[in-house]
């Protein structure tokens, strides 16, 4: 017993001792998808090869645990680097004074010119608080073979064509769209795109900032479009029972043809299915409204309470370099924000990149753009709407009450 206690003490001391090294760089991350994990490990290995004196300690969390742990470690014993998301999610912590202003890194590395697409999302009041390593486009992943089977020759570019595609698929006994709303956020992707296509980016941004009522007529127009899809049986049944990942087998089994989603799904199509999957962007609804897209951005940030900020800045500069961005985004099936980096040579990444290049404006994502508490109530509302479109007025009133609570009455 005595021996055991000594061992425990020794191990604890050893653990304390190893964290005291001057050039240790501690990084806490929520990038726990298999591809994300791989991308981070590669990036860290490359960084350590370039700076042999620095030892990176990589602490990986799953996303939900990270959200809990983050609120603790940022105010107490902060790591030197964290992964997080640009936009409002970052702003929440910037407003609390927990994230470091890294405008100097942007300045020194000339990132304003190299990463023009993500400057806005990384800024609060004109200062930058993070360096993005990847962003991605949302769009429809669809089964070409099922489209052929239903006699669809071209992907839809307008709302009428989209409705027509749905009708043809339904006639062929194929559910047009699979979705799993147990996670709530897959439904938010639909809301974002519909609102961007119907009302444009300025209105969407105002809505996200709580400056417009959810009971506004223009919001109701969005749900009127969405209701057309629900009534035309576009969506799989019982979607609130499935997580987004559990809804994927419908597409793999050939029961559903399309999925509005982001590139992290690509690796989940089994080989033979992936060969038949293609991509198209969300169709245009109103010609007068420009093309606006959701492009969620993932980035590195330095906590204000970090101990080794110098080396953390080195890491940010390293991660922003074109060749490193090419490699990281390639592993992730995502897009590199650095314009000098090259986009992975596959149809999903190329398609997403082409669409974002055409875009007149970019948002992050519903639950990244608006207040987290409002996002939750809003997304629960979307889920309920998909089940009961008739209840839309009550649902919007409920979301509006939450908006008024957070942003104040209008």
């Amino acid at each position: 017993m005595k021996y055991f206690r000594t061992t425990v003490c020794a191990l604890a001391l050893a653990a304390v001792a190893t964290t005291a090294n001057a050039r240790d760089l501690v990084m806490n991350a929520n990038t726990s998808d298999p591809a994300q994990k791989q991308a981070m490990e590669d990036l860290i290995a490359d960084f350590e090869a370039a700076y042999p004196d620095i030892d990176v300690k990589f602490n990986l969390y799953d996303h939900e645990a990270f959200k809990v742990a983050m609120r603790n470690f940022l105010v107490s014993d902060a790591p030197d680097l964290i992964t997080w998301n640009a936009g409002n999610r970052m702003k929440v912590f910037v407003d609390l004074g927990l994230l470091e202003d890294v405008s100097d890194v942007w300045e020194a590395e000339g990132l304003y010119e190299k990463m023009p697409a993500v400057v806005g999302a990384s800024s609060v009041d004109g200062k930058q608080y993070g360096v993005p390593y990847a962003y991605y486009a949302w769009g429809f992943y669809y089964r070409q073979d099922l489209f052929d089977q239903a006699g669809i020759t071209e992907t839809p570019t307008t709302w009428e064509e989209f409705l027509d595609v749905g009708a043809k698929l339904n006639a062929a006994g194929i559910t047009p769209v699979t979705i799993g709303t147990k996670n709530l956020w897959p439904a938010a992707g639909w809301f974002d795109f519909l609102n961007l296509r119907v009302n444009g980016v300025d209105f969407h941004a105002e809505l996200m900032d709580g400056k417009v009522k959810y009971t506004d007529e223009r919001v109701k127009n969005v749900f009127a479009k969405w209701a057309e899809l629900v009534e035309a049986d576009f969506f799989v049944e019982n979607h609130p029972a499935y997580s987004f990942q559990e809804a994927l087998p419908f597409m793999n089994q050939g029961d559903a043809a399309m999925y509005l989603l982001a590139p992290f799904i690509v690796s989940m199509f089994p080989e033979d299915v992936r060969a038949k999957v293609e991509w198209f962007p969300f169709p245009i609804i109103d010609e007068a409204v420009g093309i606006y897209e959701d492009a969620p951005t993932d980035s590195f940030h330095i906590p204000v309470n970090a101990k080794n900020k110098d080396d953390a800045r080195l890491f940010l500069a390293f991660a922003a370099q074109a060749d490193n961005q090419t490699k990281t985004a390639g592993t992730l099936d995502m897009l590199p924000p650095n314009v000098n980096a090259s986009v992975k040579d596959d149809r999903f990444a190329k398609g997403g990149f082409a669409q974002l290049s055409k875009a007149d404006g970019i948002m992050q994502f519903y639950d990244r753009d608006t207040d987290p508490a409002l996002a939750k109530v809003g997304m629960q509302g979307f889920q309920e709407f998909l089940q009961n479109p008739d209840r839309i007025d009550q649902i919007l009133e409920r979301i509006e009450a939450e908006r008024a609570r957070i942003y104040g009455p209008l």
């Binding site: 653990a15 304390v16 726990s32 994990k37 990986l60 799953d62 645990a65 987004f244 992290f264």
Partner: protein, 283 residues
Amino acid sequence: MFPRPIQDASPRAQLLYKIALPVSLIIWLLPMIAIVATAGRSLSDLNYGNYWGVPTEWAFIENFSSVFGSSSIGNYLLNSVIITIPSIIGALFLSTLAGAGLALYKFRGRFVILALFIAGNFVPFQILMIPVRQLTLDLGIYDTYWGVILFQIAFQTGFCTFFMRNFIADLPFELVEAARAEGVSEWKILIHVIVPLVRPALAALAVLQFTFIWNDFFWPLILIQSDELRPITLGLTTLKGQYISSFNLLAAGSLIAALPPVMMFFAMQRHFIAGLTLGASKG
């Protein structure tokens, strides 16, 4: 209505019993079966939605080896042991002392003290998150094994003291009086009279505490950051993705994590049952 042996029942009742037993067992074990089956599937099977059917390929070995390969699960297991064992020893040691004190000495306010120990169990532990984190920071043991160990000892001692106090209070007090009459010191009474008698209770508590502390996710999450200090409950979450989860690996990892408490239970089963029912059949 004491349960009679099934052999005494009518043949029809026996037949019903023989059918109902395996059926209910299977239903009851379905979640376990699902985990074991998932641990043997390939990811492509899961993506095809083949959750219950025969796997297209058995991937037990691949899954378990990639759990060991892609995460430092061996290290996490060791950390769990390093945290759990001292916590149990500490909690049992303190609660035996406190339990004996409360049971054997008639002093004023002892009921209030016991009530305080019990009341500790009713505090939702989540509300302790911020004060405990601050305390460990101030003590300089944040992000070390000791932070978690000390908290587990402190928190579990409440329940253990309640448990031990009741056991010791149930012992015949004459034993203590006889020892005192012989001039045995109080300390020796505890060691030579009380502890041997409460051994089944200690064993039962040890098993219970082992599962509580081993399976605890919350406190390591709050008090530990470094990957090399994480226990298995926290380590397993690294297999869960931000968007995508490899459920087969998660299932394989969970099986590995669940083994020690199960083995502990079987090893101590005899004491566990004896400890829980000790005194229960007293007239």
